[in-house]
Symmetry: C2
Subunit: 162 residues, 2 copies
């Protein structure tokens, strides 16, 4: 049996980091619209809307607003939900699994508990072809997802961990 | 909560029929390559290869051969597997959820037991847009899927039901 989520360096992008917050809180922050709004895009950009229907086929959407006031809606569909461990969604499908007009990538978030009570955090972007990977890299995947992860950890430490 | 698999007449195509074979055998015939080869395409076309990895993200592929000897490979990805009840896959994703080059439709097979021991069989083709639906209709969706369902029932009655 093939193991999924082994990145292909030609096609995929990976962000991996050990973070000092437990994976249960990372999971909660990733799957609750009220939390997502606080950390999901690099500041000073903001999230003005977010919808989560946490089941395979369910919607995962967010609208990003630039400092200039332009809005960028994103709509995707959850594929796999393994609480505290694995969250997979794609923009190749709309909610209810309808093929979308502008497929770009599938994302997999993989969370593992570390011995020290933190989380080994792996975010994987799975593209259609090398062009997709190159384009995502040029859009600033590593910096963007890295910044957002730092924001996520700070948000959890300041707000969720009591 | 939205209910999935409610067809949109503008975008989707549906084949619904009550058939006189139990849904457990329909499920087995739909998920076993050795069975699939016998009924999956309208005769005299044949299936020369078929691969099934029955889990979300797993491959569902088949190669159809025309009477003239031309081969047409299809590769898709399973999305939902509810034994004896619901099978969902798409060609918008490759195995491992990688977005595909030529997304066309998502298919959902819904099976319900009838009181007489048969099956209410619903096959749903979910398209990106009206063009997709129109194209699939013109390709002969209703006749093709209808013929194949007749072949499936005959195959089960003659081969699997002892």
């Amino acid at each position: 049996m093939t193991t999924f989520f082994k990145p292909d360096p030609a096609l995929d992008l990976v962000l991996e980091r050990e973070i000092d917050v437990p994976r249960e809180l990372v999971w909660e922050a990733w799957t609750t619209p009220e939390h997502i709004k606080h950390w999901f895009v690099p500041k000073p950009r903001t999230i003005t809307a977010c919808e989560v229907d946490l089941r395979p086929g369910g919607i995962f959407s967010s609208t990003m607003r630039s400092p200039e006031g332009q809005e960028f809606p994103n709509v995707g569909c959850y594929l796999e939900i393994v609480p505290h461990a694995r969250l997979v969604w794609t923009d190749a499908l709309l909610p209810g699994y309808r093929p979308s007009q502008k497929p770009f990538f599938t994302a997999a978030l993989l969370l593992e508990a570390t011995k020290s009570g933190g989380t080994k955090y792996t975010a994987l972007a799975i593209h259609r072809d090398e062009d997709g990977r190159t384009q995502h890299e040029a859009m600033g995947f590593h910096e963007g997802w890295g910044t957002v992860l730092t924001q996520l950890v700070e948000y959890i430490q300041q707000t969720m961990r009591h």
